[in-house]
């Protein structure tokens, strides 16, 4: 009897998706970007959109939200910084190991809807590992130069030891439609300017874009805040600005409460947010 009821119970929930259940995926390749940042290429067949994230778990250690930093036929990539207990565990994994994922989650950069177009210009401003969530977007426009008129990238890093995606950065720097500024906060190195990203925003010729442009900003909260303010000082209307938030999340599906800011759940309405909304969120 009990067995039957159990089966009945199971049947009732068969159609309900267990949204917390991760699936195993094989690690195909590991790139050591820096001493503290590795990129993991993981087998993955389904679609993802630029700017989305996955909940990445290492059994027995824990789960955390990680942005997709790259993608291709049959794989996605995650660039992970060695901080905290979870990410430490990831660094012990190697090619052939299993990584548990669930996702993809969240709202993406509005590429087709807003960013792309033969007359459109895109300005990307990133701080540190913030380059990871815009990497797929940068590569999309690198691969489809007809989709954009020009792309300006200001990528800032703390110092040379934190510089990511060397191959990509080199190819972007040489691309016809790309204008790149790579900068280190407080030190000098060949190929890099010096100073915070905010110091370079005035170099972007916003007034030549004929109003056809958008700005994507990703990085630590103060960096995004001051970059947006600097853009607006340069005459950028706030509705041309988009940001991506990084928050603590335990579920990524609107339940655990960690990422909530006022009535907004970053996991559901973000992580990519239109600045007019983002600036209205008060922690």
């Amino acid at each position: 009897m009990i067995r039957e009821e159990k089966m009945e119970e199971k049947k009732k929930f068969e159609n309900m998706v267990n949204i917390m259940q991760p699936e195993p995926h094989k690690i195909l390749h590991v790139v050591h970007e820096t001493q503290a940042e590795f990129t993991f290429r993981v087998a993955y067949e389904d679609e993802t959109r630029d700017g989305q994230f996955f909940m990445l778990s290492i059994p027995k250690v824990g789960e955390a939200p990680i942005s997709v930093s790259g993608r291709g036929d049959g794989y996605v990539e995650f660039t992970i910084r060695k901080v905290g207990r979870l990410t430490q565990g990831v660094f012990d994994l190697q090619e052939g190991s299993t990584l548990f994922l669930r996702g993809p989650y969240g709202h993406w950069w509005p590429i087709e809807e807003t960013f792309a177009g033969p007359e459109q210009n895109l300005v990307v401003i990133s701080g540190g590992t913030g380059l990871a969530p815009v990497r797929t977007t940068l590569n999309y426009f690198y691969d489809h130069p007809d989709q954009i008129k020009s792309l300006y990238l200001i990528a800032g890093f703390k110092d040379i030891s934190g510089v990511l995606f060397n191959e990509d950065r080199e190819k972007w720097a040489k691309a016809e439609k790309f204008r790149t500024i790579y900068t280190l906060d407080d030190s000098d190195a060949p190929g890099f300017e010096r100073g915070m990203v905010t110091a370079h925003i005035e170099k972007i010729p916003f007034d030549t874009f004929g109003g056809n442009y958008n700005v994507a900003i990703v990085g630590p909260p103060p960096m995004m805040h001051f970059s947006a303010l600097e853009c607006m000082k340069q005459g950028v209307p706030e509705d041309k600005i988009w940001v991506s938030f990084e928050r603590k999340m335990s579920c990524a599906v609107g339940k655990c409460g960690h990422c909530k800011i006022n009535e907004t759940y970053v996991c559901l309405e973000g992580p990519v947010l239109h600045y007019p909304k983002a600036k209205q969120l008060f922690d």
């Binding site: 998706v17 949204i19 059994p59 901080v83 207990r85 603590k248 335990s250 339940k255």
Partner: protein, 346 residues
């Protein structure tokens, strides 16, 4: 139908019900020395003279809940061990608090599987609540009345030394069979109609949010609140959780993932792996909690405020911070903010 029934007969009914239901009710926890919802076998175990220290939610949203088991290369979900449904004897405010939890777990994004499969089993039996306790403000929060119950019981019908019979109203016809043969009686449960405490809920609008966020008012909690999270733990509407993975033995690949109640008042609630905290002070955490209970939830789901006015958080706080006073104080601060500090007109 209404019935009256003595305690012994009620116990026999509970015995019948227990075949189909795990029966939870407020009972004395000898170890923890408090009143919590626990499994009862006899109606005499039910504590009616005081409010429970913990809310009803632990009956189907456990403090620590296993979700998944990890094997070497796969993940299996935890199966439910008890096939029975869940019957909870509780007060109106607690029943109303569950409607708030339902919003988060079932309507905010896709439904939560682990919550839904237990929640679906839950049936309420109303413990009539006629007299407000000291810390209650359910009437202000409009959570003093409910119609969501299978049957209602009056247990406080004691007359001097002799215990008068229990009065029963069966609202769900499916439960009539359990009471077949009992003596008929007229009984409609009454509800609390006034509390000593009156909550003047603040009217927080989107346009005022920034200014209210920036009030000096919140800073008083930086010195007072110790961030223990006790208020969240006893709250019937707090739903936040952390997940944590447990390894069965060092070097073994088997383990489990649990979710455990969390608290927006603890300092690390918003801390990301790199150690950055979105909210850094107890005052900011208090503001977050007050906003959630009196603005965010209503703004998102468009109905009631989240708080049901059970007053448990006020009973629990080890630093004697009253949430009731905090929110009423905020209402006054907002009034001052809007009138430029003018005293209230009489």
């Amino acid at each position: 139908m209404g019935y009256q029934i003595d305690y012994e007969a009620m116990d026999r009914i509970l015995e019948q019900l227990a075949k189909d239901y795990q029966i939870f009710a407020p009972k004395w926890d000898r170890q923890k020395k408090n009143v919590r919802y626990g499994i009862i076998r006899s109606i005499a175990e039910v504590v009616t003279g005081r409010q429970t220290d913990f809310s009803i939610k632990e009956a189907f949203y456990p403090i620590s809940q296993v979700m998944l088991y990890f094997r070497a290369d796969n993940v299996e979900e935890e199966e439910l061990k008890d096939p029975r449904k869940i019957l909870i004897l509780c007060r109106p405010c607690d029943i109303n608090s569950i409607r708030r939890l339902d919003k988060i777990f079932l309507e905010n994004g896709a439904p939560d599987y682990f919550y839904a499969r237990l929640r679906e089993k839950v049936v309420f039996a109303l413990l009539e609540c006629r007299k407000s306790f000291e810390d209650c403000f359910c009437v202000s929060m409009q959570s003093n009345i409910t119609g969501d119950y299978a049957f209602a019981l009056r247990l406080d019908n004691r007359d001097g030394i002799t215990a008068a019979p229990i009065l029963v109203q069966v609202a769900d016809a499916a439960f009539e069979e359990y009471f077949a043969g009992a003596e008929a009686a007229d009984f409609q449960p009454e509800f609390v109609t006034e509390n000593k405490k009156i909550m003047h809920a603040p009217e927080i609008s989107r346009a005022d949010l920034k200014e209210i966020s920036d009030l000096e008012y919140w800073k008083q909690f930086d010195d007072r609140c110790i961030g223990c999270g006790g208020c969240n733990t006893v709250c019937g509407t707090c739903s936040c959780f952390d997940t944590s993975d447990v390894l069965y033995a060092e070097g073994k690949s088997d383990g489990e993932r649990r979710r455990v109640w969390s608290s927006c008042m603890i300092p690390t609630f918003t801390e990301t792996a790199g150690g950055v905290r979105a909210r850094k002070t107890p005052g900011a955490n208090m503001r977050f909690k007050v906003f959630h209970k009196f603005y965010d939830f209503r703004a998102r789901f468009g109905e009631d405020n989240m708080c049901v006015g059970c007053g448990r958080c006020d009973m629990r706080c080890p630093k004697d911070i009253s949430f009731f006073d905090t929110v009423n104080g905020l209402t006054e601060e907002i009034r001052k903010m809007k009138t430029g500090g003018e005293p209230e007109s009489k």
